[in-house]
C-alpha cells in the first residue's frame, strides 16, 4: 500500500509493457481515490460537483463508447457493402452507390429483376460494352480477381507498415488484456484507424473472413481511447478494464444487433473481472451502440439485426434428431478447424512462411478469388450467403434455393406446403456442397494472416450450408415419404412440415459453438435474431451437442488456443485445476536451488540492494526482519525500488552507496558520522499474500484467479520459504497438462 501522505514519486505504481498488473493494488488505488473525492466533497460546492461528475463519468463514457462504436460499425458496413460490389461493377448514376442502392434509385427496374437496372454496369459493360459471351465473362472474372488482390494488398500493407496490432480478430489479445496484461498500443488510436480501414478492405476482398470479431477489437479501441478523457479511468488499469468489458459488449451488440447477447458474450467469453455494476453499464453501452447503428441504418431496412428471420412453422420433436446431427457436425468442424488452424499458425510462426505476410495474403486471396468467382454462392459476400440460407422461401422469393415445383400453390391457411424440389434447388445443392468444401479449407488458411479477420461469419456459413443441405434433404424425404412412421404422425401431405432455413440457422449456431465454445451467449444471440422463444430448444440442443463433441476432441476454444500459441499469461477461469500438487512443488526456489533472494528491513545499504537488483531479474523482492528468522515484513517491486533509489540519489541530500535502506516505521539506531539513511516504507507492500507450503495448488490457482494476484509468498510455520508468480502457476498448469511449460513467455 502506498503511503499517500508522502509525495508520490513519478513512475511508482506503473507497469512495464508485456507485464501483468496487480489487481489488488489497482483496486485499492481506485478506492483511495474515491475516498479522497468523497471526503473532499463535504468541503466545498465545487468539490461536491466534482464528486457527482466523477460518479456519473462512467455512464457518460458508456454513452460515448456506444455512440462511437455504433457509428464506426455503420461506416464499416456501408463501405464494405460498396467495395464488395465494386469488384463486380460500378454505378453510373453515382459511383458512390452500391448495387442495391443504384437500382433502388433507378426507374427502369421491375419487381422480378430487382438486381438488374441500366445504371448498374458490370466491368465488361464498361470495358467492352457487353455483358454477354465468354469474353465478357473473362473480363468480369479478371476484374473481380484484380480488385480482390488490390484490396488485400492494401490491407496487408497498411497493417504491416502502420499498425501490426491491427491484424487478426483481436479477441485472444483482448481476453488477455482484460485478464490483467499490458500490451501498449494494442488498443491505441493507430490500431483503431488502421483496423477500421483494413477491415473494410479485407472484407471487400472476398476472403473467407468476417467483420464481427474485429468489430469487438474496434469497440475496445474506442473504449480505451475514450478512457483518456476521464481521470478515473486513464490512471487506473483495473477501472479501465471494466470499461473495456463494456466496450466488448457494445462490439458484439453492433456486430449482430443483439445487445443482450453482446453483454452475455462479454460476460461469458471475454471478461475476467465483471462486477454487477459493469453488467448494467455494459448493457447500456450495448443498447446505445445498437440504436446508433440502427439510426445509421446501413442495411436500408430499419432492422437492427444482421440476419433477420421469421419462421412460420413450429418444429416437431422428431426434428431434434437432425438438429443433434448438426450439433455433432458443428463439434467436429470446430475441433478440426482449431487443430488445423493452430498447426498452420504454428508453422507460420516457426518457418520462413511468417516472413512473407504480403505474399501469403496475396496468394490466399488469389486462390480464393479464382475459385470463388465461378460459383455464385462463393462470389456473393458471406453474410449475404448466410442471409439467403436462413431465409424461409416465401411466395415472392425468386432465388434458386426457392425454385420448387408448384411454387405458387398455397395451402388453405395461406402457407406454403412442402413441395418437390425443382431443378434450381438441385443445382443450388451442388453449388452449396462445393462452397462448403471451399469454405472449410480456405478458412483454415485465412484466419491468422496479417489482416483483420474474424471467424464468426465463416463458421456460421459452414454450418448454415450444412444445415440447409440437411434441411432440404429432410424436406424432400418428408414430401416423398410422408407415409413413413417417423413422419406420418405429424406431417400430412400438403402441409408445411420442415423449414430448411431453420436447419441452416441451427447449423450455423452449432458450428459457431464448436469453434468458440460459447454457450448461453450463442443461444441468446440467435434468439435475438429470430425474436421468438419457439426456436430456442433446437438451438440449445445443437449448441450443447456441439460443445460436448468439440470438448471431447480438444478442451480449448479457438481463442484460448491462440492465446496459448502466443504464450500470453492467461489464467483460464473456466477450467478447474484437477491435480493434487502442493504449493511447495511449484514455488521458487526449488529444493536444490540457492535460497530465495530477500531484502532485510533495516540492515542493507543502497549498494547491497543495487547489487541484488543488477544480479537478478526478479520483478520483486520479499522484505524480512532478518535473514536468520526469515520472518516476512512485506514485498517490494523491482521497478519501484529502482525508481525510488534513483530518485533519492538525485534529490535527497547525501544518500550515497553506503546509506542504509530501511523499511521500518522508524530509522534504526545509527552510529554517529554515518551517511543519511533512506526510508522506503512508502513503496513497501505491507500486506503481501501468503500461503503455507502445504496449500494444495488447486486453492492457490483459485486465489490467483479470483483475486487477480501477480505473486504470492510461501511460508512454512511462519518462516518465509519461497515465492509463486503467475508465470510459475501457468507453467505448472501447462506441465500438468503435458504441454511445454516454456510456451508461457511473459510475466
Amino acid at each position: 500500500m502506498m503511503d499517500f501522505l508522502e509525495e508520490p514519486i513519478p513512475g511508482v505504481g506503473t507497469y512495464d509493457d508485456f507485464n501483468t498488473i496487480d489487481w489488488v493494488r489497482e483496486k485499492s488505488r481506485d478506492r483511495d481515490r474515491h475516498r479522497e473525492i468523497t471526503n473532499k466533497s463535504k468541503e466545498s460546492t465545487w468539490a461536491l460537483i466534482h464528486s457527482v461528475s466523477d460518479a456519473f463519468s462512467g455512464w457518460l463514457l458508456m454513452l460515448l463508447i456506444g455512440l462511437l462504436s455504433g457509428s464506426l460499425a455503420g461506416l464499416i458496413d456501408i463501405s464494405a457493402h460498396w467495395m464488395t460490389d465494386l469488384k463486380e461493377g460500378i454505378c453510373t448514376g453515382g459511383f458512390w452507390f452500391n448495387h442495391e442502392h443504384c437500382c433502388w434509385n433507378s426507374k427502369h427496374v421491375t419487381f422480378e429483376d430487382r438486381d438488374k437496372c441500366p445504371e448498374w454496369n458490370s466491368w465488361s459493360q464498361l470495358i467492352i460494352s457487353t455483358n454477354e459471351g465468354a469474353f465478357a465473362y473473362i473480363v468480369n472474372y479478371f476484374m473481380y480477381v484484380l480488385w480482390a488482390l488490390l484490396f488485400a494488398f492494401l490491407a496487408v500493407s497498411l497493417v504491416k507498415v502502420f499498425a501490426p496490432y491491427a491484424c487478426g480478430s483481436g479477441i485472444p489479445e483482448i481476453k488477455t488484456i482484460l485478464s490483467g496484461f499490458i500490451i501498449r498500443g494494442y488498443l491505441g488510436k493507430w490500431t483503431l484507424i488502421i483496423k477500421t480501414i483494413t477491415l473494410v478492405l479485407a472484407v471487400s476482398s472476398g476472403l473467407s473472413l468476417g467483420k464481427e470479431g474485429p468489430l469487438v477489437h474496434v469497440a475496445c479501441c474506442c473504449g480505451n481511447i475514450l478512457c483518456h478523457c476521464f481521470n478515473k479511468y486513464r490512471k487506473n488499469e483495473a477501472k479501465r478494464r471494466e470499461v473495456l468489458s463494456a466496450a466488448a459488449a457494445a462490439g458484439v451488440s453492433v456486430a449482430f444487433g443483439a445487445p443482450i447477447g453482446g453483454v452475455l458474450f462479454s460476460l461469458e467469453e471475454v471478461s475476467y473481472y465483471f462486477p454487477l455494476k459493469t453488467l448494467w453499464r455494459s448493457f447500456f453501452a450495448a443498447l446505445v451502440a445498437a440504436f446508433t447503428l440502427r439510426s445509421i441504418n446501413p442495411f436500408g431496412n430499419s432492422r437492427l439485426v444482421l440476419f433477420y428471420v421469421e419462421f412460420h412453422t413450429p418444429w416437431h420433436l422428431f426434428e431434434l434428431v437432425p438438429f443433434i446431427l448438426l450439433g455433432i457436425f458443428g463439434g467436429l468442424w470446430g475441433a478440426l478447424f482449431i487443430r488445423t488452424n493452430i498447426a498452420w499458425c504454428r508453422k507460420r510462426k516457426t518457418t520462413q512462411l511468417g516472413k512473407y505476410p504480403v505474399i501469403e495474403v496475396l496468394v490466399v486471396t488469389a486462390i480464393t478469388a479464382i475459385l470463388a468467382f465461378p460459383n455464385e454462392y462463393t462470389r456473393m459476400s458471406t453474410s449475404e450467403l448466410i442471409s439467403e440460407l436462413f431465409n424461409d422461401c416465401g411466395l415472392l422469393d425468386s432465388s434458386k434455393l426457392c425454385d420448387y415445383e408448384n411454387r405458387f400453390n398455397t395451402s388453405k391457411g395461406g402457407e406454403l406446403p412442402d413441395r418437390p424440389a425443382g431443378a434450381g434447388v438441385y443445382n443450388a445443392m451442388w453449388q452449396l456442397a462445393l462452397t462448403l468444401i471451399l469454405k472449410i479449407v480456405i478458412t483454415i488458411f485465412t484466419f491468422g494472416m496479417k489482416i483483420p479477420s474474424g471467424l464468426f461469419i465463416p463458421s456460421m456459413a459452414v454450418g448454415a450450408i450444412a444445415g440447409r443441405l440437411l434441411g432440404v434433404g429432410m424436406e424432400q424425404l418428408a414430401y416423398y415419404h410422408h407415409d413413413w412412421a417417423i413422419f406420418s404422425s405429424w406431417c400430412s401431405q400438403g402441409a408445411d412440415c420442415i423449414t430448411p432455413g431453420l436447419y441452416a440457422m441451427v447449423g450455423a449456431a452449432a458450428c459457431l459453438g464448436g469453434v468458440t465454445r460459447m454457450t448461453v451467449s450463442l443461444v441468446v444471440i440467435m434468439f435475438e435474431l429470430t425474436g421468438g422463444l419457439e426456436y430456442i430448444v433446437p438451438l440449445m440442443a445443437a449448441a450443447m451437442t456441439s460443445k460436448w463433441v468439440a470438448d471431447a476432441l480438444g478442451r480449448e476454444g479457438i481463442y484460448d488456443a491462440h492465446i496459448r500459441l502466443n504464450g500470453y499469461p492467461f489464467l483460464e477461469a473456466k477450467e478447474e485445476f484437477a491435480h493434487k500438487t502442493l504449493a511447495m512443488d511449484v514455488m521458487k526456489p526449488r529444493r536444490n536451488d540457492p535460497l530465495l533472494t530477500v531484502l532485510t528491513q533495516d540492515s542493507m545499504t543502497v549498494e547491497d540492494v543495487e547489487t541484488i537488483i543488477s544480479e537478478t531479474t526478479y520483478s520483486g523482492f520479499p522484505v524480512v526482519v532478518s535473514r536468520e528468522s526469515q520472518r516476512l515484513v512485506g514485498f517490494v517491486l523491482r521497478r519501484d525500488l529502482i525508481i525510488s533509489i534513483e530518485n533519492a540519489r538525485k534529490k535527497q541530500d547525501g544518500v550515497v552507496s553506503t546509506s542504509i535502506i530501511y523499511f521500518t516505521e522508524h530509522s534504526p539506531p545509527m552510529p554517529p558520522y554515518t551517511p543519511p539513511t533512506l526510508k522506503l516504507r512508502n513503496i513497501l507492500d505491507l500486506s503481501p499474500f501468503t500461503v503455507t507450503d502445504l496449500t494444495p495448488m488447486e486453492i492457490v490457482v483459485d486465489i490467483f484467479r479470483k483475486l487477480g494476484l501477480r505473486q504470492c509468498l510461501v511460508t512454512h510455520n511462519g518462516r518465509l520459504l519461497g515465492i509463486i508468480t503467475k508465470k510459475d502457476v501457468l507453467k505448472h498448469i501447462a506441465q500438468m497438462a503435458n504441454q511445454d511449460p516454456d510456451s508461457i513467455l511473459f510475466n
Copy 2:
C-alpha cells in the same frame, strides 16, 4: 485439508445449523471426489460408466428441477385461479371450472358478454336466487369476505403448525443460504408442500401479495430435495448451492415466463457463487421449466408469459420525460415501502404484535376484503389488474378503461387514433386512484406476515396504476392540445401518438426496480414480456432513474433490508467497503483482551484441549509450533476436535485424559510408560488463510467475499496475532455504517 488415506470419522466435515460453510473446503472436497472418480474410471468399465453418469448427473438434475418446478407452477396457477373465482361464485356446469372456463364451455354466451353465462352462479344467485338489488350485493359482499377470511385462516394456520419457514417470499433467506449459510429445513419437503398449498390460499384470499417471489422458494425447495437423489450434490454444500442458483432461475422463469430474465435474476440478485458452468445449466433448467409450464397451459392461451402485450405505436423521444417521472415515482415508492415495511416488521419482532400472527393475518385480510369488494379494480386479482392496465385498447375491448368516445372510428392505417376519454375512462381513473392508495398502504402491512407473500406483483400493480393514470393524462393532453409545441412536431390530429399501456408497463418496471433494485434482469424480464427491442429504452430509462432515486434515499433493496433485519450473516458482494481501517482494528483479541486461545502442535494433553473446549465457545482454534514462537501450523475446527476426541476415547486403545495430542507428521519423542498419543493431523487444516495485521480491511473484505472464507488468521512479521471471522467482518461493516453491530446474530 483432510487426509483421505485415513478412514474419515463420521461427522467430521459437516456443519451445525445456523452456521456458515467454508467454501474453500467444500470445493476442495468436491475436487477430491472428482479426482477419485476420474482416476478409478480407467480401471474398469463399470467405473467408467459411473464417471460418465456422474458428469451428466448435473444435467439430469436440471431437467428434473425444470419439470418439477414447471409442473408445480402450473398447478399453483390453476388452483389459484379457481379459488380466486370461488370467492365470487361457483360453476354449476362443474364446480372445478373457474369463471372463464365455465363460460368457455357454455353455449349461452355471446361475444360481447364473455363473462356472463347461466352456468356461472354468483353466491347471491345460489343463496337468494337473484343477482339484483342491494340484498344480493350484501350477500355477495359477505361471501367474498368470508371466503377471503377462510383462505387466509387456513394459510396462516398451516404455516404456523406445519412449516414456519414457509412464510414470506423466501428470497432473503435464499440469498443468505446461497452465500453459504445453513438453515436446516428451510428448503425441505415440508416447506415445499406447505408453501405450495398456502401460496394458493394466500393468493386466493385477495391479499395484496403475489406468487412470484414464493415461486422462487418453491423451485429452490424442488432443487434441494432433488439433490438428495445425487451423491455429488447431497454431500457437498458448495455443489448444492450451484443447483439452488439454477433452481432460482427456474423459479423466476416460470413466474414470468422469462427464461433469460430468470437466469439474469439469479445471477444479479440471488446468487453468490455463480461460475459460468452454472450459467449454462441454469439456462437449461429455466427453459425446461418454462416449456413445462407452457405445455400445462394454465392461462389457456398458449402464452408463456404472464402479461403478454403487443404495442403498435413507437414511442417518441419527448415521452422520455414522463417515463423518467415514472422512474422517480418508482424510486420514491421503493424507498417509502422499504422504510415503512422494515419499521413495521421491526415492530412486529419486538412488540406483542408478533405473538398473534393468526389474528394479524385475519385482521389484514378482513380490511383488505372489505375495502376491496366495492371497487372492481381491487376486487379482481392483482395479476388480472396488471394485465388490464398493460393492455393497449383494441377495437373489441369492452372494458371501462377502453371506453373512449368514437370508439369504433379507425384511422386510415386501420389503427386507433388518440380519442377523447369517455365517462367510463373518467370513472376508471377515480377507481384506479383509490386502488393505488389502498395498494400502497395495505402492501406495507402485508409483506412480512406469516403467510407466503411475494411483492413483485403488488409493486408492479402500484407502478402500473400510476403509469396508466399518467398515460391516459398524457393521451388526453395530446388530444386536446396537439397544437402545443411539445406535441405539434410528432403528434398530428387523428394519429395514435400515446399508448397508455406502455406507460403502465414502464411504471411497473420502475416500481419493481425501486423496491428490489434489480437492473439488467428487470429490463430483460420486461423485454421478454413485450418481445421487442423497441421499448427497451423507455424501460431502461425508468429503471435507471428509479434505482438512482431509491439509492439516494437508502442504499438497500428490500431483500437486503430483510436480511439485515433478521441478522443473517450475509456479506454483500455489490457494495464496496469504503473505509480505511486495517485488519488489526477488527481482529480478535482486541488490544487489551487476553491472548488468542491457541493449541500447540505436540505438547498438549487431551485434558488440556478439553478444558479449552469447555471454557471457550470459539468455533475453531489455531495450532502453533509453541506458545513462545507463535508460529502458525494450521487451524482446527471445534466441531471436528470434539468429534475426534470422543471417537478416540471410544475406539482407540488407551487414549486417556493425559494422552498427548499431536498435530505433527510424526509422534513427538515420549518418555517410556506414558499413555498412547493421539494423532489429529487429519482434522488439521494445513493451509489456513492468513493476512498481515496491516492489511487494509477493504482487501480483507474482498478476500472473504471472493473466496467464501469463514475465518482468516492475522499475523505480524510471521507471528500469529489474532483471528477475523465472517461475523467480525460483518459487525465491523455494520459499525462503520453506523448501524448496530450486534444485529448480526449468527456465525
